[in-house]
Amino acid sequence: MLSSNIKGVINGFPLRIEVEKVVEKQVDFNPDFLKNMFSKIDWKALADASKIMGYAELPEEVPDASVLDSDEFLQKFHHALLELHLEEGALVCPETGRRFPVNKGIPNMLLHEDEV
């Protein structure tokens, strides 16, 4: 999940994703959680991220809250948010170009001493 939403925006800007390997994991579908998350997510970052990871079903522009009642939409949202995992690759800061490598699904966000 981190691989497509939260990582979205660190330092104020969405991190670009470099994909080497994406895995899909089955996660239980939970509409309540999705509704809760919907308002907190930067939609554009999520849509771009899932497109890079090979899932282009999400609409480009921000949908309004009424779509939350549609089961079909929630399924797509669920898939993009929770089931797409970036297994190997990197997150790249758009501002500085700093690469954060992702190994086994764990992004390495450690900074060097001079970057603190």
Partner: protein, 291 residues
């Protein structure tokens, strides 16, 4: 050797492959961790409406505390500095998402997305300066500042911690207050040395009814909500971490001052430039009684 892991090595080195495995396979630690995270979740006081929340587990380690969160039906993101611990978490198929990161460098999570944060036995590590570039105060400031930003309004953060001494506790608390949090320390079982557990309960946003500190377990007069903090912590020196043995243990044996102790002392005095009698076979011998 001190029994506090904080005094032995930095976390990313202390929790190596061996230690991480040992930690997770010890049923005693697993039990304690589950109990602590259970209590932390209780203190977190999430609204009771069965909606799964997105929680943050700071210092998640091998995902022991995350397991408790998953049992309660919430989603979580775990942050830890030790790669070995996270590898163990992967093996155990932890449900949450894992990030390798240093909490002292800030959390780097988008503002307002997190519904609550817990941390089991982790925050006291921030008080150590393990590298020359580490400055505990700055690290605490970065940590609490970024945490405050990423929490939603009215969200709570509960840290279970083992402060080394009172000064450390105050230091942590004062930086939390500076970041804008309201809250205090809840101490469970304050009179028991083993069961005693401290929780730092913090609330985002302006003080209101919901920011009152919850009651502690095991005693009646036990909430010490020292919200006043310490204003002049700039001046006070906090014992950050000395990796030496306690003073008492270094001292002489029961027999009195041994020869080696005396020689050491004399050497030290010599190095200071004092006039010290030369060492001989009589050095550190007892005088005869008749003298």
């Amino acid at each position: 050797m001190s029994s506090r892991p904080e005094l032995q090595a930095p976390p990313e080195i202390f929790y190596d492959d061996v230690e991480a495995r040992k930690y997770t396979s010890s049923s005693r630690i697993v039990g304690i961790q589950a109990e602590l995270s259970e209590r932390a979740l209780e203190l977190l006081a999430l609204p009771d409406d069965d909606v799964p929340r997105l929680l943050l587990d700071i210092g998640c380690g091998s995902g022991l505390s995350g397991e408790t969160i998953s049992e309660h039906g919430h989603e979580w993101i775990g942050l830890d500095i030790s790669k070995s611990m996270l590898d163990v978490a992967l093996e155990r198929e932890a449900d949450g998402d894992l990030i390798l990161g240093d909490m002292g460098q800030g959390l780097g999570i988008r503002p307002g997305v997190i519904d609550g944060a817990i941390s089991i036995s982790a925050v006291q590590w921030l008080c150590n300066a393990d590298k020359s570039c580490h400055e505990p105060r700055l690290r605490l400031k970065a940590f609490f500042g970024s945490l405050y930003r990423c929490l939603g309004r009215g969200a709570r953060a509960v840290f279970q911690l083992y402060p080394e001494n009172n000064a450390q506790r105050e230091l942590i608390l004062s930086y939390a207050m500076r970041a804008g949090f309201a809250g205090g320390v809840v101490i469970d079982y304050p009179h028991s040395s083993k069961k005693r557990k401290e929780y730092l309960v913090l609330t985002c946003g302006p003080p209101s009814m919901s920011t009152t500190t919850p009651t502690a377990k095991g005693e009646d007069e036990n909430i010490c909500s020292d919200d006043d903090g310490s204003e002049d912590e700039e001046n006070q020196t906090v014992c950050i971490s000395d990796r030496h043995r306690p003073r008492k243990k270094q001292k002489i044996t029961k027999k009195g001052k041994t020869k080696s102790w005396v020689l050491q002392k004399k050497e030290k005095m010599r190095s200071k430039g004092n006039v010290v009698p030369p060492d001989s076979k009589y050095t550190a011998r007892k005088r005869k009684a008749r003298f």
